[in-house]
Structure formats: structure tokens, C-alpha cells
């Protein structure tokens, strides 16, 4: 069944149709959300919330964008909200979450980080959200720069400059590992 047929069926109350849509797009949403938030319990919640928002707006979905892009847009906005919430929380407790909770690797932790995927994930978590969102959409999700600009509602030039800055920062963080990683 096509996405349109599934959406039609789901909006008429067919639970299995919506389940098929979730199964079809959950990997894409997981990539976006976990790219933005890291592998944490909140990422699972944001992923669920993404599909619930989609379900609640099924009747409003006009198909201007593909289902994947529409879901990515919801996922990225919810992830950015979650990052703002984290920042507020860190301000309340006078803690700098980005440095303490998402530290990339001191020597002790480094031994646990033999997984390249985890290493890259942690490095991405060190980027500011505005750089992280373009890196995740362009390099992890594989959207074009034009699509990334459309999803984030940013000018193309801004996306390109943020992408370059984000990659430069990531290169600085991962430089010690670049030769070793395969």
C-alpha cells in the first residue's frame, strides 16, 4: 500500500494502517531524534510523540511534503524543544549539561568507546543545536541542502555556512580518532 492509501485508511480509524506507517518510518525518525538528543530515554519519548502528533494531524496532512519529510520536521522541532528544556533544567540546577553529561571521552571513558558509532554520536552531542540540526539532517538523514533548508525554514546560505562550521567543530573533536576509525 502507498503512504497516501495508508494515511487515508488510518484517518478512517484503521489502526493497522497507522502501525504500518510507524514501522515504515520509525528508523528515519529514530535517526533524526537520536542524532539530535543522543541515545537516551527522552529520545524514545520524543520519537513516540512525533508519531502521536502526526496521528493527531492526519486529517490536516495535505501531502505537500512527503510523509518522511513531514515526520522529520515534527521530529526535529520536538527535539529542539527537548534541548531547550534540557538547557532550562541545567540553568535551574546551575549545571552545564553539555560538558558533564555528554563528555566525549576522557581516558577512562575512552576504553568504553570502542564503537565508532557511539563516538560520532557523542561528538555530535557537543555541537550547538543550530549546527547539530543541519549536520543531522544533511549528513545522517541524507537530505539535500535545499531539503534541509526547507525543513528548518532557513535560507540555503545559512544551512551551508552552519554545515561547514558544524563539520569544522566535529573535525576538531574527532581529529585524534580520524586516523584510527575505519
Amino acid at each position: 500500500m502507498t503512504d497516501e492509501e495508508l494515511i487515508q485508511a488510518a484517518s478512517e480509524g484503521d489502526e493497522n494502517a497507522f502501525k504500518t506507517l510507524i514501522q515504515r518510518y520509525q528508523a528515519r525518525v529514530a535517526t533524526t531524534v537520536k542524532g539530535m538528543l543522543g541515545n537516551c530515554p527522552e529520545a524514545e519519548d520524543v520519537g513516540q510523540e512525533t508519531f502521536i502528533r502526526f496521528y493527531n494531524n492526519l486529517t490536516n496532512f495535505r501531502g505537500d511534503a512527503s510523509v518522511g519529510t513531514y515526520l522529520t520536521r515534527i521530529a526535529i522541532n520536538l527535539s529542539l524543544n527537548e534541548l531547550k528544556r534540557r538547557k532550562r533544567k541545567s540553568l535551574i540546577f546551575f549545571r552545564k549539561l553539555s560538558d558533564e553529561d555528554f563528555e566525549i571521552a576522557d581516558e577512562k571513558a575512552g576504553s568504553d568507546l570502542n564503537d565508532n558509532k557511539e563516538l560520532v554520536q557523542r561528538a555530535i552531542q557537543k555541537l550547538e543545536p543550530k549546527f547539530r540540526s543541519v549536520v543531522v539532517l544533511r549528513l545522517m538523514d541524507g537530505y539535500s541542502t535545499a531539503e534541509t533548508a526547507e525543513i528548518l525554514k532557513l535560507p540555503l546560505g545559512t544551512v551551508l555556512s552552519r554545515l561547514a562550521r558544524g563539520q569544522q567543530k566535529l573535525k576538531e573533536i574527532l581529529l585524534p580518532y580520524l586516523g584510527d576509525l575505519k
Binding site: 497507522f18 520509525q26 535517526t31 537520536k34 542524532g35 549528513l139 545522517m140 541524507g142 574527532l174
Partner: protein
């Protein structure tokens, strides 16, 4: 390295450069070993990020979403569930405290009865009777 050339190098990965820009970048790459190494590092970095991209949620993700959707369609039940969730820990703590007090009272009293567990004061016959009635009896 020239900042403008670095900018062009990054852009070349994401969009087609204008012919003049492309030519400028190629000339710079041909002339600089460092720039070629930088290009290699950027390509390696992008490859790493791209490979690390594929993620998944925990098992039964779809079922969890559907359960939450069903719950949102039943607000009364959801309210009751929230109440239960809030008061359950309080109820468990209260029950535990109650048991602790009961045990403490039993250990404090010589008389191992239910009344002593509830710390009911031991009342003698004279105390139970009305004093004036006691006088009449005398």
C-alpha cells in the same frame, strides 16, 4: 590555509560550485598537499557521520505509540491512571510506616496482643468505672 578556499572546499561537498569557483579550488588543491589532506579528512569525517546515522528505537515501538494514542482517546481513564500513579508511592510508603509502627509497638509492650500493637492504653477496672459510681458501690 586560505579561509575562502576552505569555505569552497566544504561547499564542494554539498553543492555544485560555479565553474570559476571549481577551477579556483582545483588549482588550490593541485598546489597544496595540506589542502588535499584536509579534503581527505573532511571526506572521512562525512563518511563516519553517514555510517553512524542508522538508528532504531527499542522493540515494540509501534505498539507503544498505538497504546499512547488509545490512552489519549480516553481522557477519564488517563486521569484515573495519573491519580493512581501519583498516589501509589504514597500508599506504599504509608503501609510500610504502618507496619513499622505496629512492630515497634509490639516490641515495646509485654503484652503481645492486637491492642498493644495498636498502642491502646491498658485500662484497669477502676479506671474504666465512673469514680462517682465507684463511691456508690463502696
Amino acid at each position: 590555509m586560505n579561509k575562502k578556499i576552505i569555505e569552497l572546499l566544504y561547499r564542494s561537498f554539498d553543492e555544485e560550485l560555479a565553474p570559476a569557483e571549481q577551477q579556483r579550488l582545483e588549482q588550490a588543491l593541485a598546489a597544496s598537499t595540506e589542502l588535499r589532506a584536509e579534503k581527505h579528512r573532511i571526506a572521512q569525517l562525512r563518511g563516519m557521520i553517514s555510517e553512524s546515522g542508522q538508528q532504531s528505537f527499542r522493540p515494540f515501538f509501534a505498539e507503544k505509540v498505538l497504546r499512547r494514542i488509545r490512552e489519549q482517546d480516553r481522557p477519564a481513564e488517563r486521569f484515573f491512571d495519573t491519580l493512581v500513579a501519583v498516589f501509589r508511592p504514597v500508599a506504599i510508603a504509608a503501609a510500610f510506616l504502618f507496619l513499622v509502627l505496629l512492630t515497634y509497638n509490639l516490641f515495646q509492650s509485654d503484652d503481645k496482643t492486637l491492642a498493644s500493637a495498636f498502642a491502646e492504653p491498658e485500662i484497669k477496672l477502676e479506671q474504666a468505672l465512673d469514680p462517682t459510681l465507684a463511691l456508690v458501690m463502696e
